[in-house]
Symmetry: C2
Subunit: 452 residues, 2 copies
């Protein structure tokens, strides 16, 4: 038996716990995946402590899983083989903000919304916006993105430099602070999206963007899903550059109305945001956007210029996930996350809708990126019904791969998507396995993820 | 002795050559680095042929170096250990353009300017713009960028999917066609910028951008370098989003005037481009840019809106490299390529200028990205003088690293920068070496680069 009390020689007692409730809190994320208890939870304060914990775990052959906020949607941080969960919530310092360089240095446990509050003072922001109370470390681990990636890209586009603890306990600093570099292998990109299977990220230098001066937002509703998705495509093709372009199916609006006492038109809906320097320029863009919406049979168009108008039109989108969950208390969510080339988006939405027609399912997603979330609410304990949910997942993923897309646009592989890795990656999967074996030959870093 | 005539069993005779002039053509790039002759040059037409050639080379322990257009500036494709050069110029087909997805599939030998000609028909372009007749394969190998990376990023930001021949001859397809993905390790990012040391890229799916509807360009000159670089910083901080932001020192303008019979003001100069949907919006931005320039003591401001005005103002920048070369016929160029955080740009330019004050040196660069090129013209045969050039290089790189920047913003490591890898990457360099040893244990892919 491993004696976890030895860890108290590395961290003070308060930061090592095998208590029931602590272990329970670190046994599940926001997904339906079965909980799994860690043996011990530790809270490092420094990279050096994290490194010492990893060296200890390696010596004892104890699995190590990094933990941010537990808001993942695919079981990514569930310690399926027990062992040590390394919780970064006490390593949550914004080390430095350098407005003059459009950069910030943060510890892994910083919550991105907290970072953005701090950055607003300097007219800056960190664009990836997954919506939950995610930590920067978790976002880097999953390569999170969210509603603004159509314009701003994903987390990987904002990682300049990382401090990483490797599975042998060694600490490396990868990357630099220049806005561009062609120096050596792109190690920050290798660790970003690796879900803690190759290394544990303790600190990061992030690239930031300037907060736009002006905003314009549009909410348009359409008679059919096809009208809405065709509008997405035409706006993207017209050379307009939306900062966000979201699709909500009619029943999603219905739940939002019910949950939040709203009276929105219950039709397939697009939410769009544009931003820029000139109000006049935005007004011109808005007129063009409206024209495209009308050509596609828009039933209603609500729009406005300015930060308040944007906040009004966008509020509903930020509540989608919570509203659906509240509306179906007692059921668990399975959220599919396929992404396909833009030209296939209409077809993908249509196919998905048909596949889940006999389930309690909501379709919404980051349309400008070809990313669709099929949000199914059901009971994982009901084997027959859940088998039906899994069957729909499989056929939707297979269709996305047939379209040369991906099984996950932003939620990561975690537990639920590992069964699609071989189909999606083919011979590349073998190279991924070789990289994993090189860095983590004992398979101790977040084992049971990525690879079946 | 290796019998290279065996290769004629893989390719038809015409596509295997050990002729003197062919070998000579593949012995050097555009840099000052000493030429080195390959033993044989081959021209594959398919990925499968490339794979068979690699398998043959592996069996015979023959080095393999991929070759695009030979326009590198750091010796990147020079076959320093002889062996086989794999020239991709006959693998130069644009396989598919999918305007509806903002994507193109190309073979590695496609010249990016040819690709952009084809894409213009559909209102699209591939943004990285290194300026020479570079091939897509070479640009991916070096993670090339150029004048528009301040807005559009580098080649790495446009690589969606790669076909790669690994050093054991296996072919993998890495990545997918969705605009975003969190599926598995980011293999396209690992190969991009690896300069053919981990794998040889034969095909790529590239992300494209929409050609902007309107352009605005400004050329402003200043009394001092500091006035110019301060302007760069203030424009970036003001929330304006230049599509290009170039600095040219006064003596660069002097050479351009002499070489091209122009009458431009011979002062430190900024060339800026802005683009967007609305002409009115651009006019507003232009007024703001002009105001910032004036506050920094601008001596002259030439500006205009529209594609023709842009072409007029930008023509000179595209000729910089060629003009300097013509002006100093008989001398060789060493072009430094450090990049630093924006706030250090003024200091970096100042320091560099002082370091090369006794040399024939020109300063210009992608100021919006903190990237400065110090272009020295001298004679590598003159040992004493060249030692002085190398000494200046070292002290400029060391200063950039002290500023937490990089020894190369866009030219790559090649031969000339390998001596700085340890200082720049520290413990990360060991991980890079382990990755190299994993994929290429015999060190046959572009040996003698990256690692000393």
């Amino acid at each position: 038996m491993t004696d976890f009390s030895e860890l108290k020689a590395i961290l003070d007692e308060r930061r090592v716990s095998s208590g029931e409730s602590v272990r329970h809190l670190h046994s599940h994320d926001e997904s339906f995946h079965a909980p799994s208890l860690p043996d011990v939870v530790v809270w490092p304060h420094t990279t050096e402590e994290a490194s010492r914990l990893v060296r200890w775990a390696r010596e004892k052959r104890v699995p190590v899983t990094a933990w941010g906020a537990g808001t993942s949607l695919e079981g990514n941080p569930i310690p399926v083989r027990g062992g040590m969960v390394m919780d970064f919530n006490e390593m949550n310092r914004i080390i430095a903000v350098r407005p003059e360089d459009f950069q910030a240095d943060v510890q892994a446990g910083v919550i991105y919304k907290e970072l953005n509050k701090r950055l607003a003072r300097d007219g800056l922001f960190f664009p990836p916006d997954p919506g939950a109370a995610a930590t920067i470390g978790g976002m880097i681990g999953n390569n999170a993105s969210g509603i603004r990636s159509v314009r701003y890209g994903a987390t990987k586009d904002y990682v300049m430099r990382l401090t990483v603890v490797l599975p042998d306990g060694e600490v490396i600093h990868a990357g630099n602070r220049a806005r561009k570099s062609s120096s050596g292998y792109n190690l920050p990109a290798l660790f970003t999206g690796s879900e803690g299977t190759l290394g544990i990220i303790t600190e990061a230098t992030l690239k930031l963007a300037g907060l736009p001066v002006n905003f314009m937002a549009v909410r348009a509703t359409f008679p059919t899903v096809l009208n809405a998705t065709t509008t997405v495509y035409q706006i993207m093709r017209a050379g307009l550059a939306p900062a966000a372009m979201e699709f909500l199916d009619a029943n999603v609006v219905r739940v939002l109305n019910a949950d939040r006492d709203l009276t929105l038109e219950e039709n397939p809906t697009l939410l769009m945001e544009f931003s820029g320097y000139s109000r006049q320029g935005l007004a011109e863009e808005m007129a063009f956007v409206e024209e495209i919406c009308q050509q596609n049979g828009a039933l209603s168009i609500d729009r406005g210029i300015g930060a308040e108008e944007r906040a009004r039109l966008w509020e509903i989108r930020h509540q989608t996930y919570e509203s659906i969950k509240r509306y179906h208390t007692g059921l668990s969510p399975l959220i599919m996350d396929v992404a396909v080339p833009l030209s296939r988006y209409s077809e993908m939405v249509d196919f998905s809708k048909n596949e889940v027609r006999d389930l309690t399912a909501y379709l919404f997603g980051h349309a400008g990126d070809g990313n669709i979330h099929v949000h199914v609410m059901d009971d994982p304990q009901d084997a027959k019904r859940w088998a039906r949910v899994e069957e729909a997942t499989r056929s939707i993923v297979m269709k996305a791969l047939e379209f040369e897309g991906t099984c996950t646009g932003e939620h990561g592989i975690g537990i639920g998507k590992s069964r699609f890795m071989e189909t999606e990656h083919g011979a590349s999967l073998m190279l991924m396995k070789r990289l994993k074996a090189l860095l983590d030959p004992e398979n101790l870093f977040n084992p049971g993820k990525f690879f079946l």
